[in-house]
């Protein structure tokens, strides 16, 4: 299904993508490109970016649809919905979700959105699109590995997708896949073949991210054009650079955790298992520790949340500066705080494990390190606000989504400080408070960063604009909806409502939240519908959108807008331009903006 819709889309792209005549690509001549090499097994970073984006969008629809469907049941636990049976068949007999299938749904929802959409879909799209264009390279360091990276992601997608259709159901151990639940087939239907497929898919996914990440780092460090020193790179590139480093260093650890899990599941080893009775029978496993898995998982898991947010931070910085016609405030502080976040990201993983029985002294060390992250985060927020402060703001949809990003990041970051204190966390761990925290700070805000990026760079990708009116509706409904959905969850969490429960009706003290739950579910449906409208806008504008007539629609100083409207493989028709300044010379010396390619003038002031 993936493949079909994708090649369909790209078939369409042929009609309008006037391939820029490939003259003067020094260093390589144009061999004849077939449909297959140009649109399917393409090694052009721009095409690969689109492949990541569209695959990610398909996943986003599926993942979000799951949440809409289980929200129906959560909001209206007494009702039955025939549509659930239509979608899920035997898992929702009589229109009510089976409790064990609810686990499968939230597991898939989390896995799909965290990894397939906000990691592959986000980094994959924008790293591929922007790194060569913004640093001034003809392509990635290794275009072939780059292509492989997409196809490993595609394979991972196929395996994950197929796990949705096996008779015992998909994996249902939560997106964190904690053993022993995930390790024992007899514990849970979803822990049978579904979990093996999940692990296989994730292993392929790790390979894909590593191939991609290696390329991104090598390209950024080695392939910059003349004059593009590291400190002249747009912050987008810095964000993507640290993202890639985080991925390269943490995904392999996750992989080793998964390998041990695979052995425990299928070959009887006891890495994670000890003293377990199922169905009145003792298992032979001894000496294992499920906490070991938690360490290995969260050593990736925490950097992973920054893998998701750093690209969004980079893009938002760029878009806010361009659309307030002001230089970014505190460029070096922005880079420094990205670096600090990147280092700290490796030192705080145990804040997810405060209740795992860890030594309280260790706990307090992790509290300290965790709270330190608030400093670079606050620096970034401060700089974003000062960047737009008294700016000449153009409220394009991309700009609105960027501002929305900052708002959400503040709201969610503040609750992070609550959670980072183990004394509070011990009470609200595994409640809706955590759900609210991470959906706001990571889920929705990374989506906002991604939307901002799509609205801003759509003209570069397809030579057309997205429809603005639909963009404004998309933004306002999604922003209001996100707060309506997730804000109340804080109160539920503080009252102790646990996450991962399908039905609270016999839990009398939580019945006070019934109508709140209904409201949340209704808003979820509305937000989902509006985002489908965005998908419509995306595909409609790809073919029918307003055409781009100038090379540089946003009057932006960075390098990607010096390429032709429809850049060919190799990006610049002639030589790659040389860079003479940083990318944020806006409103300088009475000029609206000065492109990076313009040499420093004789009496130019310093920034």
């Amino acid at each position: 299904m993936n493949n079909e819709s994708q090649s369909h889309v790209q078939e369409g792209a042929v009609t309008h993508d006037v391939h820029h005549n490939g003259n003067g690509h020094d260093g390589h001549h144009h061999h004849k490109e077939t449909f297959i090499t140009k649109y399917i097994f393409s090694q052009d970073h721009k095409t690969i970016a689109k492949q990541f984006l569209i695959t990610g969008m398909i996943w986003a629809i599926i993942g979000a649809l799951f949440s809409v469907l289980f929200r129906l049941q959560l909001g209206f636990p007494d009702e039955s919905f025939p549509i659930l049976e239509t979608f899920f068949g035997k898992w929702a007999k009589g229109g009510r979700i089976a409790p064990e299938f609810y686990y499968a749904l939230i597991t898939m929802h989390g896995t799909i959105l965290v990894f397939f959409v906000l990691t592959a879909g986000l980094s994959g799209t924008f790293a591929n699109l922007l790194i060569p264009l913004q640093v001034g390279a003809r392509d990635m360091a290794s275009p072939f590995m780059n292509m492989l990276s997409y196809w490993f992601f595609f394979l991972a997608s196929v395996v994950m997708m197929s796990s949705l259709f096996v008779s015992t159901g998909p994996a249902s151990g939560g997106w964190t896949m904690y053993p022993p639940l995930s390790a024992l087939g007899q514990a849970n239907l979803g822990s049978r073949i579904g979990t093996d497929l999940w692990i296989t898919s994730m292993a392929l996914f790790v390979v894909s991210s590593l191939l991609g990440g290696l390329n991104y780092v090598a390209t950024i460090l080695n392939m910059r054009t003349k004059g593009m020193s590291m400190t002249r790179m747009p912050l987008t590139i810095w964000g993507l650079f640290f993202t890639a480093i985080l991925g390269i260093l943490s995904f392999p650890v996750l992989l080793s955790g998964f390998i041990l899990l695979l052995f425990d599941r299928n070959l009887g080893t006891s890495f994670y298992l000890s003293d377990i009775y199922t169905a009145g029978q003792a298992l032979p496993n001894e000496g294992g520790s499920p906490i070991l898995y938690q360490h290995l998982f969260w050593f990736l898991g925490h950097p992973e949340v920054y893998i998701i947010i750093l690209p969004a931070m980079g893009m938002v910085s760029e878009i806010m500066s361009v659309n307030s016609r002001k230089p970014i405030f505190g460029y070096m502080a922005m880079v420094g705080s990205l670096f600090a976040i990147c280092v700290l990201a490796f030192l705080v993983w145990a804040h997810h494990m405060f209740v795992s029985g860890m030594n309280p002294f260790m706990g307090s060390v992790f509290v300290l390190l965790t709270l330190l992250i608030a400093i670079p985060s606050a620096i970034k927020v401060f700089n974003w606000i000062t960047t737009i402060w008294r700016g000449n703001i153009r409220f394009t949809p991309a700009m609105l989504f960027s501002i929305g990003f900052v708002s959400l990041f503040i709201s969610g970051g503040l609750t992070g400080i609550w959670l980072g204190n183990s004394t509070i966390d011990i009470h609200v761990h595994d409640t809706y408070f955590v759900i609210a925290h991470f959906h706001i700070v990571m889920g929705v805000s990374a989506f906002f960063g991604m939307f901002a990026g799509v609205y801003h760079w759509f003209p570069k990708m397809f030579g057309r604009y997205l429809n603005n009116t639909l963009g404004y509706i998309h933004f306002w409904v999604t922003l209001a909806g996100a707060y309506l959905i997730f804000w109340p969850m804080h109160y539920m969490g503080l009252a102790g409502v646990p996450r991962r429960y399908l039905d609270f009706s016999i839990w009398k003290s939580f019945n006070q939240f019934n109508s709140l739950n209904q409201m949340i579910s209704v808003v979820t449906i509305i937000v989902f519908a509006v985002n489908l409208m965005f998908v419509f806008n995306f595909f409609y504008s790809m073919f029918k959108g307003r055409k781009l007539r100038t090379q540089n629609p946003w009057n932006s100083a960075s390098l990607e807008w010096t390429t032709p409207i429809h850049p060919g493989h190799g990006n610049w028709a002639g030589e790659i331009p040389e860079v003479h300044r940083w990318p944020y010379d806006y409103g300088k010396d009475g000029r609206d903006f000065i492109p990076q390619t313009e040499p420093i003038g004789a009496n130019e002031s310093k920034h």
Binding site: G27, A141, L214, P252, I259, T269, S270, P284, L292
Partner: protein, 187 residues
């Protein structure tokens, strides 16, 4: 494919390899730290390290020397020596993997199995096994490098692939030494 006019300090592919090495190190760091954590807990079983692993160590060390010599002769353009040394490396690497497998069998025969309670043995199979997989990956690369010496239009003189090959090969060697010492020391 990518234009040559850009200023490259270090060849991007070489650079990519170095980062990839960092990534592989993280994977084994994860596993060996898991080992340390686990070895302090109840129900831990030690294993005896088979003699065979000493032999395989010697083989791998020798192969590091041969690939270094191969690189040297390539740089001196003595192609016949280069090919012979490449082949020697290939054979030594293959022998290493075979001996590792024999070592596993030796342990297995002495009752170190996957099933049941945890211990150094289970880690050993996985960690040494993953290392052997990395050697196998290197062997595949060696074979393709070797074949390209004879067929195809690969006649232009280019030292980069061979440098990359030798760097990777030294890396799996050093990685092995680390893992082996780790097991003898901690285990």
């Amino acid at each position: 494919m990518v234009s040559t006019q850009q200023r490259n300090k270090i060849h991007p592919h070489k650079f990519t390899l170095w980062i990839a090495i960092g990534s592989i190190i993280m994977m084994f760091a994860g596993l060996t730290s898991a080992y340390i954590v686990k070895s302090g807990q109840a129900g831990w079983h030690e294993v005896k390290t088979p003699m065979l692993f000493w032999y395989s160590t010697a083989l791998l060390l020798t192969s590091s020397i041969t690939i270094q010599a191969a690189l040297r002769s390539f740089k001196h353009r003595s192609m016949a020596t280069f090919r012979a040394l490449l082949l020697a490396t290939l054979v030594l690497g293959l022998a290493f993997v075979v001996i590792q497998y024999k070592g596993f069998l030796w342990l297995w025969d002495r009752g170190v199995h996957f099933e049941g309670s945890s211990g150094a043995g289970q880690f050993l199979y996985i960690i040494f096994g993953l290392h052997a997989l990395h050697v196998l990956g290197g062997l595949v690369a060696l074979v393709s490098l070797f074949i390209r010496q004879y067929i195809g239009r690969f006649r232009s003189y280019n030292v980069t692939p061979i440098e990359i090959m030798s760097t990777y090969w030294h890396f799996v060697d050093v990685l092995w030494i680390y893992l082996f010492v780790f097991f003898i020391w901690i285990g």
